[in-house]
């Protein structure tokens, strides 16, 4: 194995080694010094999602067709709840 491969290997090894070392150290510092981070979860504000219709593995043409059908379901949902206008307020 020639010097060429060693030079490439060392360059890549140093770059990844330093990157990974930095990543580990920053994670350790965050765990120690950055306290109480929070990005929010839907579970904090409700009972979660209710999926009415779902289909996977569709083609672009089929998904367009299903979106049209879904629009009818969506309008039905909104009118059933009477959500055409704001319902709350001080």
């Amino acid at each position: 194995m020639g010097a060429f491969y060693w030079i490439i290997g060392i360059a890549l090894g140093i770059a990844l080694g330093i990157g990974l070392a930095l990543r580990i150290v920053v994670s350790l510092i965050m765990r120690s010094n950055d306290i109480g981070d929070y990005s929010g979860s839907s579970r904090d504000f409700g009972n979660g999602l209710y999926v009415l219709e779902q289909k996977n593995g569709l083609s672009a043409r089929k998904v367009r067709k299903r979106l049209e059908e879904g629009r009818i379901t969506l309008e039905g949902l909104r009118s059933k709840r009477g959500l055409g206008q704001r319902t709350g307020g001080r």
Binding site: A15, D34, R86, G88, G89
Partner: protein, 448 residues
């Protein structure tokens, strides 16, 4: 006008004690519940009324300052009757009365109020609703700022005491392995319990979505019709308190909120809202949309998920003005001010402090010294075999080489990008903790 909740026994000001959940007199060492205080005040009022005059029947007059609903029941979750724009005073009357306001330090308009106990002047900024008298130290409530359209609907009383808040912070900072000794043994500059104004929104989301995702080597589409009702999305309603910092305090247990009564403010600082519900609505609907999309995304298979089509129109179904409890602790380290927060209900601590650079550098050097030689040897051999295969010129060897290059690119990209992002996030968190605006938010209040 100011008000103080007086001890029926000795006349000293009562303050809310989170440990007992009662109003305590530090002078004669007695404690009262809200119901007891209301009963005693009612009897007092009745004895003052001359014969022939009908006594007040409204519960609002049981205690000075505001119009409290029943104290025992939890706030109903049903919708509040709608109001038109012109009927809605919250939207139309955000400015404080001009009289009595004067500029102090050139930037913050202060109102001069009079302490009911000693008659001394009491300085409050334009949004404060409770404070302390600097001369006699008694808790004071600016009752005119809590009447009618300014009265909160609900409150979560403090359940963490001042001592507990300080202990939570000290214990957590002591446990941090990268925290400098100067911070671990900090000297408390100020520790203030402040009721922060919040808007709580119920938001209904329903959507007809299409998602594009990678499945193996090809891409495919997924279709979803889904709905979700978010309850009590908290949106902070104070201009001077940084939103990004306040959001970290969440979640609050909003199920434990009770109808507002001004007596709960006694012994704590508090502000009224100065962010309108209209402005807060857009924040709440944006949050609801993000949470909804995240939930839907979790149901999509494969990788590289991308929302292609959405018809989302979130609807606010209910809103409420609430006061939520937060402890603010300030200290100085190397001439910089730091403000650490503790959720006054859930005990959650929020804050980021500088790290010991020397220690971090040593650990980094040790890790780099171990990882670099290992990766160098691995990459040298893998590169050698990949290139040797390429020189043979077979179709498979081209593929292997291409995969090798792609693997290196992804590995390096992921490692470096994630390291830089984490580092920036850490810097941002420290910036929030030592933000001058947060420090001033706590500091620029009347000392006891």
């Amino acid at each position: 006008m100011t008000n103080q909740i007086k001890c029926p026994g000795c006349g000293w000001t009562l303050e809310y004690d989170p440990a007992l959940g009662k109003f305590c007199c530090i002078y004669c060492n007695t404690a009262y519940t809200v119901a007891e205080l209301k009963e005693m005040h009612k009897e007092e009022k009745e004895s003052e009324i001359p014969s022939g005059v009908t006594p007040p029947t409204k519960e609002s007059e049981a205690l000075p300052g505001a119009t409290p609903p029943g104290m025992e029941s939890v706030v109903p979750s049903g919708a509040i009757p709608p109001k038109t724009e012109s009927e809605d005073p919250v939207r139309n009357r955000l400015a404080m009365p001009a009289e009595g306001i004067r500029k102090v330090r050139g930037t913050i308009p202060m109102t001069v109020l009079t302490c009911r106990s000693c008659g001394a002047e009491l300085m409050m900024n334009r949004v404060e609703t409770s404070s302390f008298c600097a001369y006699c130290g008694q808790a004071t409530i600016a009752s005119e700022r809590l009447e009618d359209w300014l009265e909160p609907d609900s409150i979560i009383p403090f359940s963490v005491t001042k001592e507990e808040a300080e202990k939570i912070i000290r214990t957590r900072l002591q446990a941090g392995s990268f925290i400098p000794d100067g911070i671990k043994n900090f000297e408390t500059e100020r520790l203030r319990g402040i009721y922060i104004p919040y808007w709580l929104f119920d938001v209904y989301c329903a959507d007809n979505q299409s998602w594009k995702y990678s499945s193996g080597r090809s891409s495919a589409y997924a279709h979803r019709v889904a709905e979700c009702e978010f309850k009590n999305i908290t949106t902070e309603a104070s201009e001077r308190f940084v939103d990004e910092y306040s959001m970290k305090l969440e979640p609050f247990n909003t199920a434990k909120r009770i109808p507002f009564h001004p007596a709960y403010l006694s012994g704590f600082y508090s502000d009224r809202f100065d962010v309108s519900d209209e402005k807060a609505e857009s924040i709440a609907t944006r949050r609801a949309t993000q949470l909804f999309d995240r939930e839907v995304m979790a149901t999509i298979p494969g990788s590289d998920k991308e929302l292609e089509h959405s018809e989302m129109e979130p609807v606010i179904t209910r809103e409420e003005y609430s006061m939520l409890p937060v402890w603010f602790l300030t200290f100085r380290y190397q001439d910089n001010p730091y403000t650490i927060l503790v959720n006054g209900q859930t005990r959650k601590m929020v804050g980021a402090v500088p790290y010991v650079k020397k220690k971090a550098a040593v650990i980094f050097a040790i890790l780099a010294a171990i990882l670099c030689p290992i990766f160098s040897v691995v990459f040298s051999y893998v590169t050698y075999f990949a290139v040797q295969g390429l020189l043979e010129g077979t179709e498979d060897s081209f593929k292997v080489f291409a995969y090798y290059i792609a693997f290196i690119a992804v590995l390096f990209g992921a490692t470096w990008v994630s390291a830089i992002r984490k580092h920036d996030q850490m810097k941002r968190s420290i910036g929030l903790t030592c933000a001058t605006s947060t420090n001033r938010f706590v500091k620029e209040r009347q000392d006891r």
